[in-house]
């Protein structure tokens, strides 16, 4: 418990408090009157209102579209399932600059919808909502589907044998068991969409603004720290409130579940209904996720002289005419990204794992508060954290502002909540009597942990690692402030290429995005494989 607390105090609470404090203090006195002033402004109220309703709508839409997907991935066996599960997770880690481009190609002028039906959705709220579903589909599929695949289907079957209808059996047996996972997933999606930044900026145009966009503008562009501080506090309060409600619901419903090997629970679909469900889910994934990704791939090959690998070849050289957007060939960004992400994942796993273990064993108000606190980095804007780092970690021995370690640290901050959220439900579901039995039979606490907890949570650890790794790969907001020019990460490299005119730069950005997609897909696919191989052990 001490390690994660110290980590969060030093790398999250302290920087954020310092930057907010800078905004709210004038000459050493707190100026709380500013809160009322800022909140009275009609433009700020507009932002608040839009932020809230679009997040609610996005969450509802994502659950509606992704829950059938979670079911299909959990219960059905079909060829290409592993690959597809990895692929649907790719959007989650793509930088929004890239996704915005892909979505405009589909929804904007001359896009697919425009050509087929004359429908244009760019600069409408629909584009924002659909992009949010695109980004967060995997959150629901992996969080809910992960647990669903480990629920023993025989429990539901037993209920049906005892006379319950199909729906009643689902409602009474499966749904209560799933509820914490659904709540966790909904919470994640709500958090991401509530704090949405790039999607809203690109697809919504200047007419729409979320709290996060406004905080960025006030901090980075206008240096209006008082307004930014007030908005940060508002976002804090909102996120804190949601987390508190969530913690309460989850606690009421969580209990020991009988978890089984997912390999036993999924099977080929049977009957027209199940095939139709599978088909529907696959079609949705195809339209919503593969199509935008496909557009990026297509553009990365679409050179001036027809289709080819020209842009990919250009990535290996420093630049045309001896000039460069970077000091190194853009391709080196792949290695940088992998290194940073690996370190970030390790940090996130250790900190998140320790926190999850501590949260499972201890109860009490303080611990529950800490549970919610761990989630807060997801709800706080990257610019606040980044600027906070700048003014707090500026003295030796902790002058980390120009150190490479800042990148994985910032990435880990976002990864930890994923680790905790993925591991906690599984850890809590481990029947305590198993541990007691092991202890009675003479096992040391370490042995009991190794023999009882570890096999059951190993899958969760891997899923958590995959998420943390993927999030780190795609993290952009904080990285862009601290990545050094000689070691840019993939998203930073893409953004810099897109920031320049010229065909080659645009093409290289598309090619790098495609590589980022591939790297993510391969990493996730490897995880899927490790998972399956080891699942035979328990």
């Amino acid at each position: 418990m001490a390690v994660p607390v110290a980590f969060f105090a030093l790398f999250f609470a302290y920087p954020v408090t310092a930057i907010v404090g800078r905004g709210l203090k004038a000459g050493g006195d707190w100026q709380f009157g500013r809160i009322g002033e800022v909140l009275g402004r009609p433009d700020i109220l507009d932002v608040l209102w839009f932020t809230t309703w679009q997040a609610l709508a996005s969450t509802a839409l994502t659950l509606l579209i992704a829950l059938p997907g979670a079911y299909v991935f959990a219960r059905f066996d079909f060829p290409g399932k592993q690959v597809l599960r990895a692929v649907v997770t790719v959007p989650f880690v793509l930088p929004t600059v890239v996704v915005g481009t892909a979505f405009l190609a589909l929804l904007g002028r001359g896009g697919l919808l425009d050509e087929l039906w004359g429908v244009r959705l760019d600069t409408t709220v629909w584009a924002i909502l659909l992009a949010h579903v695109f980004f967060n589909y995997a959150v629901v599929v992996r969080t809910v589907g992960g647990l669903w695949s480990q629920l023993d289907p025989r429990q539901e079957e037993a209920a049906r044998v005892l006379g319950a209808g199909r729906f009643a059996a689902f409602r009474r047996v499966t749904l209560p068991a799933l509820a914490p996972a659904v709540a966790a997933a909904a919470l994640m999606v709500f958090l991401f969409t509530f704090t949405s930044f790039g999607v809203v900026q690109i697809l919504g145009g200047p007419a729409y603004s979320t709290l996060e966009v406004e905080i960025y503008r006030q901090t980075a562009q206008l240096l209006d720290l008082p307004t930014a501080a007030v908005l940060t506090l508002v976002q804090f309060a909102a996120v804190g409130g949601i987390l508190a409600v969530h913690a309460a619901t989850v606690r009421r419903r969580e209990r020991a579940l009988r978890l089984v090997d997912p390999a036993q629970t999924s099977r080929r679909p049977r009957g027209a209904g199940q095939w139709a469900l599978l088909g529907g889910v696959l079609l949705t994934a195809l339209l919503l996720i593969l199509l935008p990704l496909g557009v990026l791939v297509e553009r990365s090959f679409d050179g001036p002289g027809g289709y080819g690998f020209g842009y990919y070849e250009a990535l290996q050289s420093v630049g045309a005419g001896g000039s460069s957007t970077f000091l190194v060939p853009p391709l080196e960004a792949v290695g940088n990204s992998l290194r940073y992400a690996l370190v970030a994942t390790l940090i996130a796993l250790v900190i998140g794992g320790l926190a999850a273990a501590a949260l499972t064993r201890r109860a009490g108000r303080l611990v529950r508060g800490f549970d919610a606190l761990l989630m807060l980095p997801l709800g706080v804007s990257a610019v606040t954290v980044g600027f906070g780092f700048l003014i707090t970690l500026d003295k030796p021995p902790l002058d980390l502002r120009t150190s490479w370690i800042l990148v994985p640290l910032a990435q880990a901050l976002v990864g930890v909540p994923f680790v905790v959220r993925t591991m906690l439900p599984v850890l809590r579901a481990v029947d305590d009597r198993l541990r007691e039995a092991a202890a009675v039979l003479g096992a040391s606490p370490l042995r009991a942990w190794r023999e009882v907890d570890l096999p059951l949570v190993r899958r969760a650890v891997l899923v958590a690692a995959g998420f943390a790794f993927a999030v780190s790969l795609g993290e952009f907001g904080a990285t862009v402030f601290i990545a050094r020019p000689d070691t840019p990460t993939l998203p930073v490299a893409v953004a810099r290429l897109l920031g320049r005119s010229g065909e080659l730069n645009y093409g290289q950005a598309m090619a790098l995005s495609t590589i980022l997609m591939l790297v993510c897909a391969v990493s996730l696919l490897l995880l899927e494989r490790i998972r399956t191989d080891r699942s035979g052990e328990f």
Partner: protein, 365 residues
């Protein structure tokens, strides 16, 4: 529980071990910067925005001449980079900051960001760029924000492209222009300031009302405006963009040539030379710099002929040193912009927020 903690503490130690290893790996990978890190005062750190670029061989020449190795830190766009410097005032991350322009200059000076230093060779720098008599900042480059046009569109329509701010209001150019949000984008703000310089502080609001009536489209950033909406750019052609006029830079046409393969004989885009706003970018020695001597040497170097002639093809801006030669690509494909009407940094500082606010309520609402 205790055992669990111990177990995990071991894991943390292992993770930190890997962390250190990975760190060494990434430092070795970055040529130059890793090796010089240990020797402290021989490294001089330049803090800048994302658009800063320089040839490797030019940096090596600096090292050979002075013995200092340059380490570069880029942090966000021009506004964000400057604001980070203001926040860390007194305990700066580097020695020299490059990239504050005339639209933000007074914010930097009012905050006491820089220590005065008269760089060697300042006598060769164009006098109209030397705005600060106290030499707290040194001018390094100029660039013009102008409306770019898609040559093919206007040739196909047999329509003459617009030349001036007034032209943009003509019915022939209805629904053709896309620009950036002046509140969040540097070219967007430049274009707004350009209209203020041309139409006056009393006339610009009326101008924008007419421009809005003539169908100007506003998007958030340069990337979208140029790559997604503008039909003349490489990205725009792929996106089937339908706006043949965009607010961009006077140097954008040469860039379209440089980054095309094969390079076309003629740039696909042109510049409306009567719609420009000139930006001057400055560099300065940061107050509290750890390596003041190195910082001064770097400032001298930034206005040396070597650096000034390397700049155009790396950052697509114009040199301020009068005897620096422009690359052929610029003279051939770029258009020469005469000194456009401008707004002084003091006036910008005093009115920036109010101008942006009134622009927002006028154009965005």
């Amino acid at each position: 529980m205790n055992t669990t903690t111990k177990y995990a503490a071991t894991a943390l130690a292992a993770a930190l071990g890997v962390t250190v290893l990975a760190g060494c790996g990434s430092d070795d990978g970055s040529a130059g910067s890793g090796a010089s890190k240990g020797s402290g005062s021989k490294t001089v750190t330049l803090v800048s925005h994302d658009s800063f670029n320089v040839s490797d061989k030019v940096l090596k020449a600096f090292t050979k001449e002075t013995g200092y190795t340059v380490r570069t830190l880029k942090s966000g766009d021009a506004g964000a980079a400057l604001n980070q410097e203001i926040l860390t005032k007194g305990s700066p991350r580097g020695d020299v900051f490059f990239g504050v322009d005339n639209t933000l200059l007074s914010r930097a000076l009012d905050n006491g960001l820089f220590t005065a230093y008269e760089a060697k060779g300042l006598d060769r720098v164009a006098p109209d760029t030397q705005t600060d008599e106290k030499h707290r900042v040194t001018p390094v480059d100029t660039g013009d924000i102008c409306v770019n046009y898609d040559k093919k569109y206007f040739a196909d329509k047999k329509l003459a492209p617009p030349k001036t701010f007034a032209d943009l209001l003509k019915p022939a150019y209805k629904n053709l222009l896309v620009t950036e949000n002046a509140a969040s984008s540097s070219p967007g703000l430049g274009f707004l300031l350009g209209t203020i310089a041309a139409e006056g502080e009393d006339g610009y609001e009326a101008y924008w009302k007419k421009l809005k009536a003539n169908g100007v489209k506003v998007v958030d950033g340069w990337e979208q405006a140029y790559n997604e909406e503008f039909s003349g750019s490489a990205g725009g052609r792929k996106a089937k963009a339908d706006r043949p006029l965009v607010v961009s830079y006077a140097s954008s046409p040469p860039v379209e040539v440089l980054y095309a393969d094969p390079q076309p004989k003629e740039a696909p885009t042109g510049v409306a030379t009567g719609t420009c706003f000139r930006q001057t970018e400055y560099a300065g020695l940061l107050t509290g710099a750890k390596n003041e001597a190195g910082g001064k040497a770097l400032l001298d170097f930034l206005i040396s002929k070597t650096f000034q002639e390397d700049m155009p093809l790396n950052m697509f801006v114009n040199p301020v040193v009068e005897d620096a030669e422009l690359p052929e690509l610029f003279t051939e494909h770029g258009e020469k912009v005469d000194t456009p009407p401008t707004v002084t940094p003091e006036k910008i500082a005093a009115n920036r927020e109010q101008w942006i606010q009134s622009w927002q309520s006028l154009v965005l609402k």
